[in-house]
Symmetry: D2
Subunit: 300 residues, 4 copies
């Protein structure tokens, strides 16, 4: 019986590009990891070993580097949109129907001068806090932009409880009236922007900084009855104050901090000494979206 | 404007369980990493901080360990099905509508005796080759079983070419008539089994061993015009010879091995000396499925 | 023929302790990863399976957590000194002759309020830049403190050349008059402090902040003829301006940024577009110490 | 006050080389990760930015690849010795006084044919069990060869106890009469071979296979009163039966497997269900050497 080739895609992953803008003595750098996936009319490549419609992944890589020269990198999102449009619109014979560009961005800060002044203008230290992400999709008609971040680690040392939960035969957990709540935030949010007609793009870097700040604010500002509730508050806070965003999805591992039992040593642990556990961990995931919008950020 | 809580799920991730069957002097071990995600009627938890319908992730963890005692672990798939059914069917008030259980399994071999004989019966060395994976879904009606593996690294030192491809302005790649083809296989295949009525389950461990062998056979046995073609051959070979499997998806990074230019040193590299590159890398992904079947393995 | 038990040590590694100081509404947290190794009179444990002189690693772990309660954690170094002294001085029958305590510290910043104000006093975000390290040794007489950091990634986008080097049959490298210089700093510096008599300890946290700043300053401020020269300038700068430090060792991988050849596409790369390579990489290591001091930081 | 340049070294790290021997239809591959460090008369490079005595790390890399062509790769140790001798003996003006070559080797197995027969002769699957290591030192007079392995994970499901240990105020551990003993072996052993005069080299690959087997045998065959005792038994067993080896050092993290308390669920855990913990972990390290030999494998 015949088999069918289903969804398939290919491209060059993890193109590590650093772009330096040297216009003045004060350089600007962008440090990206760019992964491109193309899908389209590639049956012949898969089924018959004919590569006539196969743009090599090496060419994909070359294009990423050449585009950085030709167009600069205003933001990860702008750069990804340029690339996605190119592969679909410009590849010969229209063999590419959809392009997906995923980008990670690593932030750098300037090294200040010894006297706290401005420094050299060309010296940087990697900030290391979170990794910024962007995923751009383009199908020949409209773009879809999902921005995000990962590895943003946050902790509230009070203001969190977990009580009143469902109990069954296997429940042994004691209720907690005051606990540490810590998580490593992965967030992805989709912009309403489609790139059609007169739909002008938001300022991606400003939006990013604002959404990150809103996530931190909501985490810090929410008295938590559960990590689920905190997740929902974070998502809602972004939608409330970032009009460009239609949908946001959060993945929040519960980084458990267990109070250490010091009674065997004649000591009382007055919420001071915790053991930070690696595994197992609770994992809370969820999407919050505007009414009337069809959520599309995929579940992982 | 009101916002909507979309897809959400929660559970305990990465429960690292080792089960020892000690019936005889010849012990058997199963070494699993079990992650459970539950979705259902959790609006109150997210929106109102009410945990009355929230089964704690700590209880989820306890259940995983208790079930290992109560039912043993015949295979990752069997164990995952038991757990998924339990959370949906047995949780009070029917708050859990769907359960997803993801399992990684690490294989162990017996340490042989010094004389090559049978050894102690309780001494093991981890095989380390690939990690076996399983994902079980259950929605109260039927189960869905997606088994797989990752980190299976394979290499053909000849029998691979890449020529006749599409060229554009950014193409510089030279055609290759004989190259090393190497990849790190991630495979996921979905069984036709649904757990309904008299649909008896396959022998999961036998199926796993067979599919792994078929993937290796097809990789070794295919003269390759592209990694896409090799992917398709691998998927087709499994569907041809594993009747239980309806659909298979492969993710194949092209682990590039570049021939080193030794001419500057007065040496000719006669396909002997290669540089194994890390990044960038081609990434080829695709699904092959039986005709008439709706493919469901998600794109990552 | 008899064999001899040589250097041996044991302990509990990677005790992940988080300490919260709650004295006021403004909490303080310390987040450490503490590893303890003990050496001494443990021949009977190794040779005869007698554990009478073996303090369990579980007890070592308990001690770490109990000490955090009993003494607080002023700094990683202070805490390590307390622990090292305890294991050698207090363990029964004097079986522990030497203790080594290694600590990693993860820095946290406060989440500011929405209006830029002070925030909750109990909400933190992990800074993520570098990991601080400390290694304390104690042999019953004096302490040795080696502090350090790792994963501090820095980059100069100009002000670096590499020319005039030794050439042999295998040399193909082109001289560089202007290149990106980037590295991921691992630094370890030893303090003169020995903990004997009236040798009062430096303020460890202040010293750490100062040395880190000096490393950044020297990296930014040095016109570089080689990464070796930059390494030497960084070490010298610390010794010049941190009187407490007797010796410093740096490990500097050369994170190569290669200029991409864009000529095949009719483009000229005017020092704008770089490819950041993973492997291979140059690795430069070296110690700088004060005259008359015997350097002891081990080569790795 | 003047500062002194202490120990320093540099080179190219992580040269990822794959060598294919194609003499017949049955190819042979060697897959290595080679890191070279050179030390010598490099004061001018560090202090004065003069590179006249600096062989570029790029040349070091070229040499690694060229040597694979010129001499083949009989074994990691043979290849490392050739390289170390070259850098010291052949570099102009004798600027290199000492060379250290570290090699990791990844093992590959052949993919068998579908009928269990011999397969293609050019198709391989990475074995993935342990990583083989070698460190070669050469100072112009003699070589020092330290071979080893890491990430060899072993487990005894019985035959291990831990009792009769030292107890102090912080001891809470319960004695164990029957526990799982599991560890991830890192081993390094030094050969007596010096490369001087008529000191003929051992067959490195045979020795490696034999020592690995002996480590496994001793782990499986030892009734354990402590991991220290098992370590000593493993070291002694190698020295007893591998005459070429003068010294061996083992690093054995205690991969704790904790029996899960199932009593709250009305279940009795009869040594069946364990939780495999990540951190904290005991860490046991030690050297065993022949009498009269000065041990030199460094403590890490």
């Amino acid at each position: 019986m015949a088999h069918v080739l289903g969804q398939n895609q290919y491209g060059k992953a993890e193109n590590r590009i650093v772009h330096v803008r040297r216009g003045s003595a004060r350089h600007e750098i962008k440090d990206l990891n760019v992964s491109v996936s193309l899908s389209g009319a590639f049956e012949d490549v898969h089924l018959h070993g004919s590569n006539a419609d196969c743009l090599p992944t090496d060419t994909v890589k070359n294009t990423v580097f050449a585009f950085a020269k030709q167009y600069g990198i205003d933001s990860a999102e702008d750069f990804g949109i340029l690339l996605a449009r190119h592969f679909v619109d410009d590849t010969e014979r229209g063999v590419v129907h959809r392009a997906r560009v995923r980008i990670e961005e690593y932030a750098w800060e300037r090294i200040p001068a010894a006297d706290g002044g401005e420094g050299t203008g060309h010296s940087f230290v990697r900030s290391g806090q979170e990794t910024r992400t962007a995923e751009i999709g383009y199908d020949g008609a409209s773009v879809r932009v999902i921005s995000g971040l990962r590895d943003l680690v946050v902790l509230n040392s009070t203001g969190s409880e977990f009580r009143g939960y469902l109990k069954d035969r296997y429940t042994t957990l004691q209720e907690a009236r005051d606990r540490i709540l810590a998580t490593q935030v992965t967030a992805r949010w989709r912009y309403g922007h489609t790139g059609r007609d007169d739909d002008s793009a938001p300022h991606w870097d400003h939006c990013y900084a604002r959404v990150k700040r809103q996530l931190l604010e909501a985490f810090a500002g929410t008295y938590s009855h559960s990590l689920q509730q905190t997740l929902h508050a974070m998502g809602t806070h972004v939608l409330d104050h970032s009009a460009e965003v239609d949908e946001i999805r959060l993945e929040l591992p519960n980084k458990h901090h267990f109070l250490v039992d010091l009674e065997p040593f004649g000591l009382h642990n007055d919420d001071e000494v915790y053991y930070a556990a690696d595994r197992m961990y609770g994992l809370i995931e969820g999407t919050v979206h505007r009414e009337g919008v069809v959520p599309v950020i995929p579940v992982t």
